[in-house]
Each structure stands twice: as C-alpha cells, then as structure tokens.
Subunit: 304 residues, 2 copies
C-alpha cells in the first residue's frame, strides 16, 4: 500500500464553522486525519492527512471545493503571505512511492483542481514545470493582491486553468519531502542575536544545506525559527551542534525548543543514535522494529 | 492482546546443531522470534522472543526440554557464571500486563519446569519468594559446581523441584522490566580508567540509580559496560551526561558506544526529546504515532 501525506494550507483561521466544514469535507473520503492547526493571527489553517493516493486527492478536492465556496480573499486579512482560499497544497511521499511519483500526483491533481473548480494553479518544488517556480515564495510573491494585477502577464501565466482570478484566488500545488518545523528559544530578549544565528546557520547564508532559518521575537523571547527541508541530509544532530556553537559565540543558551506540526520518527531515532554515538545500523536493534518484522499486530505493539 | 518477552540464556554457544534445535523448538509455538545471539567464548546463547503469555511459556518449555536433553553441564566450559543448561529465564512485560503479572507467570512456569523436566528452579528478581534471591548473582553464586555440592543445604533449597542436581543443572526463573545493555568505549587502553568511571556512575557506588556498570578491556580498548535496569527512571540522557562528565575528569573521550541486544523505542525517542530540549509531550507529534492512531495498517506504515 503506498501512502501519501497532504498538508493543505487554507486561508481561514478564525471562523470555527468554516474550519469544521473543511475538516468534514476532507474526512468524508477514506483518509487518516493527522492534525488540524488553526492560527487566528495568521488567519490560516493547516490540515494534515494521509492515505492512498487516490483517496488523498479525492479528499483534497472535496476540501478545496468547500474552501472556494466559503473563503473570500477580498475579505481576508492576516499576516501570512497567501494567494488563495486553498493557498498551498503539498503532497509528501510517506511509503512505497517516490518524490517523483508525488510530483506526478500533484500535476494530475492540479489539472483536476483547475478544471473542476476553475482555479488558476501553479506547480512548485518537485512538481514545478518552470525553474522559476520551484521556490514557493516566488510563486506567492506579492500575495493575492499583486497576483490579481499580474496574472495576465506571461511570467505569471498559471500552469493549469485560465489566467483569471476570482475571490477564491489561486493555488500552489507541489510535491516535497517531509519537512520538520523546529524552533529554538534563546536565553535573550534581543532579536538581533536570533537573526545573526539564523543567518549563520541557514543555507542561504552559507551555513548548513537544506536549512531555512529566521530570527524572531516570540512572546518577548528571541527565537530561531527553522524549517529542515531534508533531515536525511542535514540531520537534527548537525543543526543542534551548529545552534549551540553559534549561541555560545553570542554568550546565550538554548533554553528550550519546540516542534510545529509532525516529525518523522526516523528523524528522532537518527538523532538519538548520532547523539548517543551509536552506529546508525543500531536502528535494527529497536525492539518494536524486530517485533514489527516478526508479527503483524502492530496496533497492539507500537503505541503505549 | 497482552504481550510478554522471554530472554532465555542457554549454556551452549558453540555447537550450531544444538543452537538450531533450541531455536526450532521455541519457534514451534506461535511466538515471534526477535533475536538469537551466540557467544563461543562465553559458550552461551541468548534467544529473545515474544508473544502472548500462554504461547511464550509453551515455547519456553519446549526449548528447555531440548536444552536438558542436549546440554551437559559436566562437559560445559565457558567464562560466564552459570548453574544450568537453561541457565536463566526472565519474563519481561511488553504490553497490557504488569511486572507483577510477569512475576506470577514466572512462578507458574517455574513450577511446571520443575515438575515436567525435573530441574531445581530458583525464582529471582520480581518473581523471587526469598529476599536473598532477588539478585541473580546471589542465585548463581559459585556456578554449577558449587551449587552441586551445596544444594542439600537449607539456604540453597530450590523454590520448586527436589534438591538434587543432574547434568542439566538448575534454572533461575524471574521477571524483570526491559533492560538496556549499553557499552561506551573510551579513548584509552587503560582499564583502570574504565573501572573508575564505572564505580563513579553505578548505583552500588552511589552514582545513578538503576544502573549497573563495569570497567573492562575489550579488544585492547577501555570500555564501560552498563546495564540500564529501568530507563524510565534513569534515562539514557542522564547516563550520557554522567559518562561524559566522568570521562572529561579523566581526560578521555567516549569514542563510540554500542547496544547489546534490543532497546525499547521509547528509550531512544525519550533520549532524543531530552537532548533536543523538546518537551516530552512532543512524543505526541511523531508522525507514525498519529498515523498509528488514525489507521490500522501498521505494517505498511512503520517499518521502512
């Protein structure tokens, strides 16, 4: 059974009845609902679900239909950059399919979304058809407002659908590997320290590859906010080591960290093995893994 | 479904045909075979298996029958202390049963082993009926040879079976929580440093509770060899911190570590969260855990 994850971002984080309708529409297909996170400040809801590819695209189309009916970008206010009611739809390979397969899935879904709901669709990351659309930030540049005035230009021509925007806006559809959103709080109220550390460790500043980082002030505390784009290549162990090194350079400590959303188990186990100085092959000595290989009744075994 | 693990230690680590016969006997019952580790130097084999209580005791009795028939303690040579052909049988609670339940299971099994195979049985750890038999080392004191001459004395009277020893020796049957066997190699060839560190960190030296430790010289390298008796109370994070502290005090480093046998997944995840400074409740954000709660088909999901 191949398993794909879908993490749509909807431009609604305040009206509980609309959020409930989105969840109801998505769960009316045979998928596993994993997480619903709404942020009223950003006025945004992220729903995470997984299942077999056909069920996942069906569920996503049902959710998108509700979003297009209920969310009006002309009336939407929020601090997050966004281009549409269903703003972003990434497909993530979990099991028995590749990133390439997910890119194909995203393209097929994008065509269907444009055809059935009359939304302009832009393909991004692994699903992108144009190199200048690989980066999601480029696709969303200027948000709904700028896209509305530029959609007629050749460079903003959608990949699917007609170049005409309604109050549901446009949608970015893509494929990517699992992403880890990981934040570290510093023993400081000085945001410039968090910004300096973020600049030193992130890929775009010449730091670690596959790492995005920003310095923020959150509830009066300096925070380094990170996206780990590929934890297999840039591990949590490498990131923690660099963070602690840079923090020491600025005479601050990491007081605590947090995960936003979900994390693949392998990222934590891999971190534990590296930090314990155990060989990575030790993964094979995990009791539950042996049990799983030996008997079928996982529900009983895995989750205490 | 309750799930119990059984980790019998057999006094045979050289004759492949005998080891194969032990494995065959055990796997003729409906259990999940998890690991077979034979050590020719110690002349000893440890078989790890799990299943429902009744299946596990059936499998264990079948294995014990083969051991009694095929292993002769009069001819056995090896460096490990041992009292019998089936030397030690611990039962370990994995799921939906308690350590107390495992102690009851061990006592019932011990009675059956003595009755059906005519072996003197000593109950140890959580299954012990006498306080001086809680510690396995006390039960095995002097090995087969001393026990043979002392079995007639009141203090070495078996808990089950008659006080008479054959060439299959006696068996210690017990119940314990999952144990982690974890070794750390030092950047030194000086065994006295490993011994000093072991003494400083282990429970019996006033160090960390629930931790046994010995300093050894293994392949010319100083090694701190540890048994973590209760990783929920003395975590791997606490142990690594103490180890590194003591190593620094002796001007040595930990070059690498190793696990002997299996480790419960929760011990590694718990370590990762602590070391990453993530709250322990983050365990709930593990993708596979959410998936597991949401859908039933674990085999597909959990093990890549």
């Amino acid at each position: 059974m191949s398993l794909v994850e879908c993490v749509p971002n909807f431009s609604e984080g305040r009206r509980a009845e609309v959020i409930a309708a989105l969840v109801e529409a998505i769960t009316s297909a045979p998928i596993a609902l994993l997480d619903v996170s709404s942020d009223p400040d950003h006025n945004r809801t992220v729903i995470t679900f997984a299942g077999e590819p056909e069920s996942v695209t069906d569920a996503m189309l049902r959710g998108a239909r509700v979003a297009v009916e209920r969310i009006d970008l002309e009336a939407h206010r929020g601090v997050h950059p966004r281009i549409g009611a269903v703003d972003v739809i990434p497909f993530v390979p979990l099991r028995d399919l590749s990133l390439h397969d997910c890119a194909q899935l995203a393209r097929g879904f994008g065509q269907r979304l444009a055809d059935e709901l009359d939304i302009p669709v832009y393909l991004y990351e692994a699903a992108a058809l144009r190199p200048q659309r690989v980066n999601l930030a480029d696709v969303r540049r200027g948000g709904y407002e700028l896209l509305k005035s530029e959609i007629g230009t050749p460079e903003r021509q959608p990949d699917f659908g007609v170049a005409r925007i309604t109050s549901a806006g446009a949608t970015a559809v893509g494929a990517r590997d699992p992403l880890i959103a990981f934040n570290a709080y510093l023993s400081s109220t000085d945001v410039t320290i968090a910004q300096a550390i973020a600049l030193a460790i992130r890929s775009s500043g010449g730091g670690l590859p596959y790492l995005q980082a920003l310095g923020l002030l959150v509830d009066g505390r300096a925070q380094v906010s990170m996206n780990v784009i590929d934890y297999r290549k840039t591990s949590l162990a490498m990131i923690m080591a660099r963070l602690r090194e840079e923090a020491a350079r600025h005479d601050v400590r990491i007081t605590e960290t947090e995960l936003v959303g979900l994390i693949p188990q392998a990222a934590l186990i891999g971190y534990a093995l590296a930090s314990l100085q155990l060989p990575q092959r030790t993964h094979d000595q995990v009791l539950e893994r042996r049990l799983g290989a030996a008997i079928g009744d996982y529900r009983e075994v895995m989750f205490e």
